[in-house]
């Protein structure tokens, strides 16, 4: 079973131990720009004067991810900051607000959110919610992500085939992602979309 959800919905969600204590809340949602796999979360303290915590929460230590809370077994589930590469400030960077470009150089719009596919064992970033640059298009669109993608703080590059799989609603989006990826996976599909410099 898999569930699609918006990464930004996770921000500020409390982190609760199985003993019922809220020990933190989600600050950043971090995913690998290479594989799209969700790496984990950085954390804030609870309470109105609390700042960021030194600890982080790797995805592998998450016990359950629900609409009301992110559940962990106990405080030992939190890791220190080294759990993530320490490259957070580097070439990856904040995705929301980035421009989405296709390989052929078309600007699709600006990223407003990242769609996560929550499965039993792992969670992947599978798409972006974008605000299209084309003003006649619907206010929100969803574009699928290839299995691997290139991201900088500035722009995201997608293959042109992604255009066919843009959806206006989340409902049909899961199927679109699967189809898009299987299309990319076909060996003969690759050379045609590789731009010749």
């Amino acid at each position: 079973m898999s569930v699609l959800l918006r990464a930004a919905d996770l921000l500020k969600r409390p982190v609760v131990t199985l003993a019922g204590d809220d020990v933190a809340q989600i600050k950043d949602v971090i995913y690998s720009s290479g594989s799209g796999e969700l790496a984990g979360f950085t954390l804030n303290g609870r309470g109105i004067f609390a700042g960021p915590l030194k600890q982080t929460l790797p995805w592998s230590n998450v016990h359950g991810l629900g609409p009301a809370a992110v559940m962990i077994r106990d405080l030992d589930s939190l890791a220190d900051r080294q759990a993530f590469d320490g490259e957070l400030e580097g070439a990856g960077g904040v995705v929301i607000g980035s421009m989405v470009l296709t390989h052929s150089g078309r600007n699709l719009g600006v990223v407003t959110d990242v769609i996560l596919d929550v499965r039993e064992k792992s969670t992947d970033a599978v798409g972006y919610e974008i605000e299209p640059s084309d003003k006649t298009a619907p206010r929100r669109q969803f574009v699928p992500l290839p299995d691997t993608l290139s991201v900088s703080g500035e722009a995201l590059i997608l293959p042109d085939t992604a255009l066919e799989f843009i959806r206006d609603d989340l409902a049909g989006f899961g199927a679109a992602v699967d189809e898009f990826r299987s299309r990319l996976g076909r060996p003969e599909a690759h050379p045609s979309e590789e731009p010749t410099p």
């Binding site: 609760v16 003993a19 019922g20 359950g64 629900g66 609409p67 009301a68 809370a69 559940m71």
Partner: protein, 144 residues
């Protein structure tokens, strides 16, 4: 089975003097054993405000009886936090271990013979007491 709401506020009677030594305020539940291990008592005339389950002489529909006011005393160290107001189970939101909200605890149903919690009653559903995993300052966590 009885519900805590049936006995909440009932007097705690000292049978040696036939006087009221307090009123039942809240159940104290051990989430590990799924049992009521005692009650917090308000307006206590004893040395503390916790009445342990083992010290209850009788649990009737109209009163709880104890052998002396001394039975309402300070909790043992391991129950000090557990018996405090900050970890009361009533009115606390219930989460599943997967982070789904179920609602707030309205009432607790338990077996009067041994204190075993049979059900947590929520607004329009109930949760089997055996599913209890933890009672913390943020939520009651249940399995499943």
């Amino acid at each position: 089975m009885i519900r805590f709401s049936d006995i909440a506020g009932n007097p705690v009677m000292d049978t040696s003097t036939a006087t009221t030594v307090g009123k039942l305020e809240a159940p104290i539940i051990d989430p590990a054993t799924h049992r009521i291990v005692g009650f917090r008592v308000k307006k206590s005339k004893g040395p503390g405000d916790v009445l342990l389950w083992a010290s209850v002489a009788g649990l009737g529909p109209d009163a709880v009886t104890v052998s002396s006011a001394e039975q309402v005393s300070d909790p043992p160290p391991e129950l000090k936090d557990r018996s405090g107001r900050k970890l009361d189970v009533l009115k606390r939101p219930v989460l599943t271990e997967h982070g789904h909200p179920l609602g707030k605890v309205k009432d607790v149903e338990f077996d009067p013979s041994d204190g075993r919690v049979t059900n947590l009653l929520l607004k329009d559903s109930f949760v089997d007491g055996g599913r209890l995993l933890g009672i913390g300052k943020y939520a009651v966590v249940v399995a499943g």
